[in-house]
């Protein structure tokens, strides 16, 4: 139902945009009376289309406050000259398309953006390029806006002075589609954003998180790629999150996660691919999540799960080539791990039902030792450690006895 | 040609060689006699560089041989018990020795091997050979590269009488060519026709070192064995060897 609503929203947004074609046309450029974009906007009427010709427009704090279709031809550059917000949209049903917006202000006091969207409804921002902005797109108190197919890049090098690629605050029904984001603090940041869809975006090489949200209920994330972000993805304090078919790759570091789930409840995480992360999935204080049909391939830790995590169901996932499959900091684990494929499983299947006859214990003794003494990771894969692990698997003493997969699959699931 | 100066060697606490001084010249054929464990083999091995002496010098053609190895190409050595790589065939072994001692000027001489009939068993592996046959191989190898010095440690032990005789003939032939020959043996009767000088060792010392003619003259015996027996009866054992050098 929710997904249907979101799709309808997209259709409405796209159809709505074609209405403006019937309206008047205003031109901006060196050969036209309107030399600046601000002049073009000021001289246009609601419903007009404003064409901006190719060129460099050294303007900042552009007030975009009418229902206009503002279209750049051959990507005119709007250079904010490193002061303030380059453009501010405060309108209903406005469309911004085909611009290259660069050099927003940078300040420790204010959050300056390439494009600020405030108190707006039904705004569409598509096919633009953002470079070198502190925040590239910042929305506040807006509803039903679409941010689509934008190239959003910056060169962030510290977390204080630089902002996020797409930053939404207290917004609702946002559609973030097909954007390519890199070089920001966080690629996509949501705070108090509800009923929104994040779909087919690529967020990579950001200096903190590829995706970061908190207090953002009822959002759905589909087919995004989050990779090589310095801390991966972190999501917190949120209910009803659904994540399908996303890729979380190559997030390396002591505090880097494919995805860190903290206080997340009631959601589905399915069809995702976790490859070569230090920790693919870190679950802290989460409840009633359904984690199924994901692939965990070649990670350091596939899943780290804290003792405060309850009633999660982890099933039908493939665990292949991970250094450690599961690690935990507690002894009592109240989550279900039944019915996954684990490549480290050494059991047998006498009745040939495709499921192992003895349980698999995904926690190795040595991963527990490393938790308490990280330097001992250096002895990993030595003979003495293999012996310790083998002994522990036969006679569990230190690792949680009840953390086990009772019916592991014998062969990888086709995912 | 070979000179030993004050050579001493201990194995553990056992003094095997005790300040040996001597000179061997070309054309000499020296019999090295003495009871078991008197240091004969050790002395030979020090000359060959197989045993490293604790002190003293060995000169070959006037040059010290310590850490040298080139001089060994002038020496043919037949060990007391020839020990060879077990998996090698005779042909293989000979081929390897030819490889090692390859010298453009000298064509290998395998007359001895032929006369021992080794040619028919060239493809036998060394471990399958009898002690006697192994000795034949050792002998053939010692003579093969026409060395200037022949060191033969118990050459006839284990050989059948016919082969023994063949070897003896060959030794005489080499001696007549003016080569230096050093033989140890227990069977003194064999040495009668060969030897020019006799050295008798005991407990790491030379008890005496005399030309055969002189020995016979002193003792008035024709047979080496009797002469040695006689002189041993009259000698006090344990005198330092240097006092017995012929003047």
């Amino acid at each position: 139902m929710k997904t249907l609503k979101i799709f309808l929203g997209i259709v409405v947004a796209l159809v709505g945009s074609s209405d403006t074609l019937t309206a008047g046309k205003v031109y901006v450029g060196t050969n036209h009376p309107n030399k600046t974009i601000q002049q073009g906007i000021d001289n246009a009427r609601h419903g007009d289309t404003v064409y901006v010709e190719r060129g460099v427009y050294k303007e900042t704090e552009i007030k975009f406050n009418k229902t206009l279709y503002l279209k750049g031809i051959d990507f005119p550059v709007i250079d904010g000259g490193r002061s303030g917000n380059v453009m501010e949209i405060h309108a209903k049903g406005a469309i911004l398309e085909g611009f290259k917006i660069i050099n927003s202000g940078q300040s420790e006091m204010h959050d300056f953006a390439g494009l600020l969207v405030v108190d707006s409804y039904g705004v569409i921002i598509r096919n633009n390029k953002f470079e070198n902005n502190t925040y590239s797109i910042l929305t506040q108190h807006s509803r039903n806006c679409t941010i689509k197919d934008n190239e959003i890049h910056s060169v962030a090098n510290n977390e204080v002075l630089f902002g996020n690629g797409v930053h939404c605050w207290r917004s609702d029904s946002m559609y973030i589609l097909g954007n390519n984001i890199s070089g920001h603090r966080d690629g996509i940041y949501f705070e108090f954003v509800t009923n929104s869809l994040v779909w087919r975006n690529i967020s990579r090489k950001n200096i903190r998180y590829g995706l970061h949200f908190m207090f953002s209920n009822n959002d759905t994330y589909i087919s995004n790629i989050f990779e090589q972000n310095e801390s991966g993805v972190a999501v917190m304090y949120t209910n009803n999150v659904n994540m399908y078919n996303n890729y979380f790759n190559d997030n390396w570091g002591g505090a880097a996660y494919g995805i860190l789930l903290k206080d997340i409840s009631d959601g589905e995480i399915s069809g995702n691919y976790f490859g070569r992360n230090t920790t693919a999935l870190d679950i802290e204080g989460c409840n009633r999540l359904k984690i199924f049909k994901n692939r965990f391939i070649n990670n350091g830790y596939a899943i780290k799960i804290s003792a405060s995590t309850l009633d999660n169901e982890i099933t039908q996932n493939n665990f292949i080539g991970n250094t450690f499959d599961v690690a935990t900091n507690g002894t009592l684990v109240a989550n279900s791990f039944t019915g996954n494929y684990w490549d480290k499983y050494e059991g047998y299947d006498l009745n040939k039902d495709g499921r192992g006859d003895i349980p698999y214990r995904p926690i190795s003794l040595y991963s527990t030792i490393i938790e308490s003494n990280p330097a001992s990771l250096m002895l990993f894969r030595s003979i003495i450690v293999s012996l310790l692990d083998k002994t522990e698997k036969l006679l569990p003493g230190i690792t949680p006895e009840n953390l086990k997969d009772e019916k592991p699959y014998m062969k990888p699931l086709a995912l | 040609m070979i000179e030993l100066k004050n050579i001493s060697k201990k194995f553990g606490r056992l003094q095997v060689l005790n300040g040996i001084n001597t000179k061997f010249k070309e054309g000499e054929c020296i019999a090295l006699l003495g009871p078991n464990g008197c240091g004969k083999t050790t002395m030979i091995k020090t000359i060959l560089g197989m045993v490293v002496p604790d002190s003293g010098q060995i000169l070959f053609d006037g040059k010290e041989v310590n850490n040298e190895w080139q001089y060994r190409k002038y020496i043919g050595y037949m060990p007391q018990i020839g020990r060879y790589p077990e998996n090698m065939t005779i042909a293989h072994l000979i081929q390897m020795m030819k490889d090692i001692r390859k010298d453009g000027n000298i064509a290998p001489d395998d007359r001895l091997a032929k006369s021992f009939g080794l040619n028919d068993m060239m493809n036998k592996k060394m471990r399958t050979l009898s002690g006697g046959t192994t000795q034949k191989v050792s002998a053939s190898l010692a003579f093969m590269f026409k060395p200037r010095v022949l060191i033969l440690d118990e050459p006839t032990a284990g050989l059948d009488p016919i082969s023994s005789e063949k070897l003896k003939e060959r030794i005489i032939e080499e001696k007549e060519k003016g080569k230096l020959i050093l033989i140890t043996s227990h069977i003194l009767s064999e040495l009668d026709d060969l030897v020019t000088k006799v050295i008798y060792m005991n407990e790491g010392n030379f008890l005496f070192e005399k030309p055969l003619a002189e020995l016979k003259e002193i003792t008035g015996e024709e047979k080496l064995s009797r002469a040695v027996a006689k002189i041993m009866g009259g000698q006090s054992i344990g005198k330092p060897s240097n006092q017995m050098q012929p003047a």
Binding site: R276, F324, I383 | -
Partner: protein, 255 residues
């Protein structure tokens, strides 16, 4: 040098044990890759083979072979050859033929099934371990003339490097876990050639996990190309030093 080496290699290659060793390695490697569900898991199994079986076979076979070659060395020492030449030929022959056995038995399957950086580092480490343990065998042989004692020493050395050393390190890690141990750990791994190889392979296989390791020294040292070069230099020292010591004692040895 070359001519003796040729004879040693021919002799060893004809040796049944080396043929069996090659076949065994090949059999294990191929079955590991075919039976295990993923190539990555196969590599993990192969790692044990390389860290455990290869050093064991190399040190024991070499020890026995050197003792059994007493006749051969005796024969050669009386010939116009340098002792150094004889000893190095023996070493070269053992190192070459056992490396060849490893290349055929493990190298080819790894290249067939897992020809990436991990595979290459694995092959390289295995080769180095082969030669290192041949070299250590030469050292052990120098300690005693008694073959049985020599083999005893060889097994003891293997046990030390394969198991006891790591147990001691693990013990120390827990005894001193309140202290920064990273630099000490780097030095410790240079004391044991098996650890040095294992860390190199670890850095390839478990890089994701190692990147989570909070202490940066180890990662930065071994992970950098300089660290890799120094590690393999360390392994080269492990080849050279035991060999040189054994050569020194062989030069003074009485046949």
């Amino acid at each position: 040098m070359k001519k003796i080496l040729k004879y040693v290699i021919v002799d060893i290659i004809q040796n049944k044990i080396v043929l069996i060793y090659t076949a065994l390695l090949l059999l294990i490697s191929l079955s590991v890759f075919n039976i295990e569900s993923s190539a990555a898991k196969g590599m993990a199994s192969l790692l044990n083979l390389i860290l455990l079986v290869v050093p064991l076979v190399c040190i024991i076979f070499s020890t026995i072979y050197i003792y059994n070659s007493t006749e051969f060395t005796e024969l050669l020492v009386s010939q116009p050859l340098k002792r150094k030449t004889i000893w190095l030929s023996l070493f070269g022959g053992l190192a070459t033929s056992l490396s060849l056995a490893f290349l055929i038995g493990v190298g080819i399957p790894v290249l067939l099934y897992h020809a990436d950086a991990t595979g290459l580092v694995m092959i390289l480490s295995g080769l180095f371990l082969t030669v290192v343990f041949v070299s250590i065998a030469f050292l052990a042989v120098g300690w005693t003339r008694d073959k049985a004692k020599g083999i005893g020493w060889a097994i003891a050395l293997w046990l030390f490097f394969a198991l006891i050393f790591d147990a001691i390190v693990l013990f120390l890690l827990f005894q001193f876990q309140d202290y920064p141990l990273e630099n000490a750990m780097v030095i410790m791994s240079f004391i044991n050639p098996i650890d040095l190889s294992r860390v190199q392979i670890l850095l390839q296989m478990d890089i994701s996990a190692l990147m989570g390791y909070t202490g940066a020294v180890f990662r930065e040292f071994f992970g950098s190309s300089m660290g890799i070069i120094i590690s393999f230099l360390g392994l080269s020292v492990w080849i050279a030093v035991p060999l040189l010591f054994s050569l020194r004692s062989f030069k003074r040895k009485d046949m």
